[in-house]
């Protein structure tokens, strides 16, 4: 569940006021609007990356308004994937579990599971440089899902992909949602994506 209660966000000469919505647990919600209208800002506020001036933010019935991003148990997939150029794909998938000091065996198991599922097992020892757009996004999804977050925030993750990859990623998104039951907030300006 993602709930915004009368949230105000202010940034340099730009304000979003009294935003309220409620996305039930396990739902796949799409936030659509034209470029520059503040969609990403709302997503950043949900992630704790953008301070809010007023109101409350709830994730899974928990008031997270004052919590830092790392304490909100969510995953973020940005538009450009924002992969860590110095890490291998395997290190990306293991990252959130290492931060949580998970056992090595558990990390290996989860990395193998995600790599098989996202079809990136053959890329595990590669670094982001040279990966295709679709491969990069798969790694970003794996990195975000590794610690089994209850909420997944997607910031136009398909906008930079070609048509064929786009269709494949749409199928993958549906599969991720069906398999994990994670609550998704997907930001896009593309009507085609939202209708699917």
């Amino acid at each position: 569940m993602i709930r915004f209660d009368n949230v105000d966000i202010r940034l340099n000469g730009f304000a979003l006021q009294r935003i309220s919505f409620n996305i039930p647990t396990g739902a796949y919600a799409v936030l659509m609007g034209r470029t520059g209208c503040g969609k990403t800002t709302v997503l950043e506020a949900a992630c704790g990356l953008r301070p809010i001036a007023a109101g409350r933010v709830y994730l899974m019935d928990r008031d997270v308004t004052a919590l830092p991003p790392g304490q909100r148990n969510l995953g973020l997939v940005p538009q450009d994937a924002a992969l860590f150029s110095t890490m291998t794909v395997e290190e990306h998938l293991a990252f959130s579990l290492r931060i949580r000091k998970a056992a090595k065996k558990e990390i290996h198991r989860r990395v193998d599971e995600l790599a098989g599922w996202l079809d990136i097992a053959h890329l595990l020892h590669r670094r982001p440089l040279g990966l295709s757009g679709g491969e990069r996004q798969r790694v970003a999804f794996g990195r975000a899902l590794a610690a089994t977050p209850s909420v997944l925030c997607l910031d136009e993750p398909l906008s930079a992909l070609d048509e064929q990859t786009h269709a494949g990623m749409m199928r993958l998104l549906k599969e991720i949602h069906g398999k994990t039951g994670v609550t998704v907030l997907h930001v896009t300006h593309n009507r085609h994506v939202s209708s699917q």
Partner: protein
């Protein structure tokens, strides 16, 4: 020449260029405003090249004249004469310490400047440029005066800076660090802030995101920052002269030796030490470039 553009010059250009580079005749085609006059790129590129060549020729000329002026035995003397050898060793040691210290200070300072909003940020940014614009002798004088104050004298009670080796390092550091900070600021600005934000959503605190994600990404900037700090420190003369003095076997670094030899009219030895300095600086530059290549692979 008052020829009209699009007529004589264009015709000449067309005559020179093969048909495929100028598919359309110059002038109006009858539709809209027509095709603009074709101007070949080569004269423009040659003009740019000539301007750059003047500077490159000056650099090459300077280095060549040093090499031709100096006699080989004099270069050997730089390594056999204990006084010069001490200056070479002190220069190398102090520059290396300065480079490490500069990067150590530049990384957190540049990170704050690029990633954190805080009151007085613009003032801090301006203050950090002061060592770059301040005359070098003034930096030396200001350091000398700083260590005459009560806090300065207190520090000197534990570590002697004025007219001592730590003073050489401090004088070099004051200027070199400002350049390292500018280099690191550019490096941090190139790193996508989203990476750090994603790391924070994955469970990292800000400090963890810095250590695990930002710092490894910034490695590519640390090598150039260290190089520029090292090179600046190697050439630093004014602040070292005023703050640390020119005592042989104590605070004499290579630029000081050149200055002292010039003062007594010993041009040959001054050129010999200069050659050694240039060679060392180029070797370090080469090593750093190789290291940077390895890091970015």
């Amino acid at each position: 020449m008052n020829e009209r553009p699009g007529t004589t010059r264009a015709a000449a250009a067309l005559a020179e260029a093969p048909a495929k580079t100028a598919p359309q005749p110059a002038g109006r085609t009858g539709a809209g405003h027509g095709v603009p006059t074709y101007r070949p790129d080569v004269p423009f590129l040659i003009a740019l090249g000539l301007i750059a060549l003047v500077y490159v020729a000056l650099i090459a000329g300077m280095l060549a004249s040093l090499v031709f002026y100096v006699e080989l035995p004099v270069v050997g003397e730089v390594f056999t004469n204990p006084r010069y050898r001490y200056a070479v060793l002190l220069s190398l040691t102090s520059c290396s310490i300065t480079a490490v210290l500069s990067v150590w200070v530049a990384v957190p300072t540049a990170y704050l400047l690029t990633r954190v909003e805080f009151p007085g940020k613009r003032l801090l940014d301006a203050v950090l440029d002061i060592p770059i614009v301040l005359p070098p002798l003034v930096i030396g004088l200001a350091l000398l005066m700083l260590f005459q104050t009560a806090p300065g004298r207190f520090v000197q009670g534990y570590v002697r800076f004025t007219y001592a080796v730590p003073g050489v390092v401090l004088a070099q550091f004051m200027v070199a660090c400002a350049f390292a900070i500018r280099t690191m600021t550019a490096a941090f600005a190139e790193i996508n802030p989203r990476q750090e934000q994603v790391a924070m959503t994955l469970g990292c605190s800000r400090a963890q995101a810095f250590w695990w994600v930002v710092l490894p990404e910034a490695q590519r900037g640390m090598v150039p920052a260290a190089t520029i700090a090292w090179a600046r420190a190697m050439g630093e003369f004014g602040p070292v002269l005023v703050f640390a003095g020119t005592t042989a076997f104590r605070t004499e670094v290579m630029p000081t030796s050149i200055f002292l030899e010039l003062q007594v009219g010993n041009l040959g030895v001054a050129a010999g030490i200069s050659i050694v300095m240039v060679t060392l600086a180029m070797a370090v530059l080469l090593l750093m470039r190789m290291a940077r290549g390895r890091i970015s692979v």
